[in-house]
Amino acid sequence: MDTSALKRTPLYPLYTKYGAKVVEFGGWEMPVQFSSILKEHEAVRTRVGLFDVSHMGEFSCVGPGAMSFLQELVTNDVFKLVPGRAMYSPMVNASGTTVDDLLIYCFTPTEFWIVVNAGNIDKDWQWMNSLANHHEVTLRDISSQTALLALQGPLAQSVLQRFTPVDLSTIRFYRFAKGDVLGVPCVISRTGYTGEDGFELYAPCEAAEKLWSTILADKSAEGVVPCGLGARDTLRLEATLPLYGHELTEEIGPLEAGLHAFVKLDKESFVGKDALAKQAKEGLSRRVVGLVVKERGIPRAGYRVFQGDKDIGHVTSGTMSPTLGEPIALAILETPYTSVGLNVEIDIRGKRVSATVVETPFYRRSKETPKKRDQGEDRR
């Protein structure tokens, strides 16, 4: 593999020290695992793990027209944002399929951050700038200056609290605060992509190594486990959080992906509204559902799904669920085949295995940990 064109995060030089296996992901050289995907997965479900997700893109969006620009750009209702709140939203094109899914952070009514998927940074940058011309707004790509660490798991708050004067218990789910962590100015956000409680820390690149090394050296929670993208994927799949390129694509829109709560068709206007409103009115021809495999075999992205002789769709993501101990999948299926309890068959490399449509998420954390409260619809 020619790795010369691949990008690296500021933490790349430390990967080897922590035992990382490095793979190509969306144009980046990223750790797929440090110790073992299963061990890292379990650490996040039961204790705490630390991820380097500095490959994610960050754009600042500033100006008197920033809010109206964002309102037109994405499907969720940006006007609901107030300083200190974050919001998840899909971003669609005129035909209602997905350009990307992203987080918006509101610092002031005229200052925002948009956090996008690593593999879509260039595409999103062009897409947003073409729309920004019509608004009083200045976009700046701050990705290369911004590191992002995700501390995830039930013990995330108690570990992070040792390193910051900010009272973390005051930051509720999908809220954030600016504050020092180890003396480094950070954006501390109670968000994540694992289905557990946790924080994401946006920090200057030059401080990334200090944050990473110090947090991992903490022994208060039996040790913080460094985690790679492999565990990130199994964790998010159990929590049924969509992954761009799988459940959301240039072919699959947010309604088909089941993200109705993040598509506000009562907004005055936004890119793709007409197409999505038409889908909603006429009914969706296909939908993403959860499947649990009842036989031996692991479904993978792209595998076809059948009922009898009829091809009814395909798997968008699949894995052996570490928490459930069963193979699980998300699949986009024709609507008549999406009822919970229905039996279907997945073609696993030429062999049909039976699977059942189930309620999602596959995994939901217990209520004891601080979580959604009044933000029932936000997630990521």
């Binding site: 296996k21 073992s36 995907i37 492999g230 031996r296 075999g297 692991i298 993978r300 052996m320 193979p327």
Partner: protein
């Protein structure tokens, strides 16, 4: 550093073979299990099936990927490691012992000469 056992023969596809008379025990190497990561599923052929050298005889799946198993020799499957059905992680923890996969009855052991010895396999994985 991956462990390579002396006295075994190896395929370039990272299977090992231990020949005892006409019986060849086959598994995957320490290097292969480490590359795959946590193994969560192993699919093996049925006892009695005839395998042809260099064709696939099963699959091994880790959390992230699926990998085909290639028969290093031609022969008839006389035993499969049933423990791997419920404990596929044995391939990770003990690739050369508890994680063995099949035993073949080999008619013509000349195929062994096509395989790499430990030293050549070490050189192969160092590439």
């Amino acid at each position: 550093m991956s462990q390579v056992m002396q006295g075994l023969k190896y395929s370039k596809e990272h299977e090992w073979v231990k020949l005892d008379g006409q019986r060849a025990t086959v598994g995957i190497t320490d290097f292969a299990q480490a590359e795959l990561g946590d193994i969560v599923f192993v699919e093996l052929p049925a006892v009695g099936q005839q395998l042809k050298a260099n064709t696939t005889f099963g699959t091994v799946e880790s959390v992230k990927t699926v990998s085909d198993l290639f028969a290093p020799l031609s022969g008839k499957v006389v035993e499969v490691n049933e423990r791997l059905q419920d404990s596929p992680e044995l391939v990770n923890s003990s690739p050369y012992e508890d994680g063995w996969m099949v035993v073949l009855e080999v008619e013509d052991t000349a195929g062994m000469n096509e395989l790499l010895d430990a030293q050549a396999y070490e050189a192969h994985i160092a590439e």
